[in-house]
């Protein structure tokens, strides 16, 4: 489902003396349907960078990133937008929303975007919010004023609203209590069971051991420091 071939990434900081940061070089990996793969490696090794390359918001310098029949390295913006709407989900570490939009709508939006009716989308959103223990009195409010943990759970509800065939999860269990962590892990297991290909970053080792089938240490793609 997700396949990377010889992918490389460098940042060129034009306004800082054109410094070049080589983050990752010659990455090849493959994640099949129903599989969850963890990206590991020390802080700064490039886990989030690789994930953003797969989502298409970091540009890759070389190689191929195939999800379904789209190559994200070469795709037109509208192909990436369509891919993100239908196929590729991403739970980032922070919730970013239009102010004033009620939580229920924020969560239902990915479903509305693929043409599902308001009522059905809201039902699914309600069930996810309830599952993630967001009190019902908060559903009609904008999540912008919620606590960090509440925002993270709204973000997860939104990310799991549509059954994406491919999913990227950046620290989905960070800052959650034991109960909610358990809910998130079961959502991940359910997504795997229905055949989603998942790539995740988990600092929580027990969580990783439970839901991930394999680990890929991204430090092995870190270019050797130029002498």
């Amino acid at each position: 489902m997700i396949e990377l071939k010889n992918v490389s990434k460098t940042f060129t900081l034009h306004n800082q003396g054109s410094a070049i940061i080589e983050v990752t070089n010659d990455v090849s990996l493959k994640v099949s349907a129903g599989e969850c793969v963890a990206l590991t490696g020390a802080s700064g090794a490039g886990k989030s960078t690789l994930m953003r390359m797969i989502y298409g918001n970091y540009l890759s310098q070389a190689g191929e990133i195939r999800i379904g029949d789209v190559d994200l390295v070469r795709a037109e913006p509208r192909e990436v937008i369509a891919l993100r709407r239908e196929i590729l989900g991403y739970v980032s570490q922070f919730l970013r929303v239009v102010p004033r939009v009620p939580t229920l709508e924020v969560v239902a939006e990915p479903l509305r975007a693929i043409g599902i009716g308001a009522e059905e989308a809201e039902e699914r959103a309600q069930s996810l919010l309830a599952q993630l223990n967001i009190p019902q009195r908060l559903w009609s409010l904008s999540p912008t004023t919620f606590s960090g943990g509440e925002q993270q759970r709204v973000n997860i509800a939104r990310g799991f609203a549509h059954s994406y065939p491919a999913m990227l999860l950046d620290e989905p269990t960070a800052s959650l209590d034991a109960t909610n962590r358990e809910v998130v892990l079961s959502l991940i297991e359910a997504a795997k069971a229905r055949g989603a290909a998942i790539i995740g970053i988990f600092h929580d080792e027990a969580a990783r051991a439970r839901v991930c089938d394999r680990e890929i240490d991204v430090s092995r793609f870190t270019p050797k420091a130029a002498a």
Binding site: T12, N15, N57, P77, R78, V80, I81, P99, R100, A113
Partner: protein
Amino acid sequence: MTPLLSVHGITKHYGTHIGCADVSFDLYPGEVMGIVGESGSGKSTLLNCMAGHLAPDAGAVVFDTRTDGPKDTVTMSEPERRMLGRTDWAFVHQHARDGLRMGVSAGGNVGERLMAVGERHYGDIRNRATDWLDRVEIDAGRVDDRPTTFSGGMQQRLQIARNLVTGPRLVFMDEPTGGLDVSVQARLLDLLRGLVRDMGLSAIIVTHDLAVVRLLADRLMVMKSGRVVEAGLTDQVLDDPQHAYSQLLVSSVLQV
């Protein structure tokens, strides 16, 4: 898929001074494109050339018309272009008073656009005007008031209602949230996003506000000195800008 708008090599000089130079891109149905860049970089010039308010020195602006398919709007007849401006295109000005008739009531401002496309039935016109005022959250009780009695945010929402009542397929916006305070901006953003989703319209939005672009635009074009220096998916350009000027632009604002 046929692009809704296909822009080829648009160039506009003011004397020897460059307004915008050699701008090309395709916009597809349902897409929202943002244009950002420093003051004087040519954003308004480009927008006005595309919307037929300014005649470019060179280039083509091909629009996929309902009846005849793709047609160059730069070379089409003036009446034909004016008709597009009243039907399939909408233009939201930065200053609401440039896009409104200040001496006419709010309802009249919206109804006027319907009459311009041949609506004659007074009751229908009034109903549709009231419906649109409601959609942009202007109280029905204000329908007979003139825009001069409205706040800046209300004027801007009225301008949007006036523009969208005829069901355009493409909306040009020049700094639609400029000069409004933050909470009013948020309401307007929410409104615009809902309209894009529910009516499937396409939009080109000029703004200097990267947060607005992030929330509203699928694609982004960065301009400097009249030229496009970088274009791509909005979050890619904002999170991983490639050009020196885009990097400067993104790093000079707080996190968006």
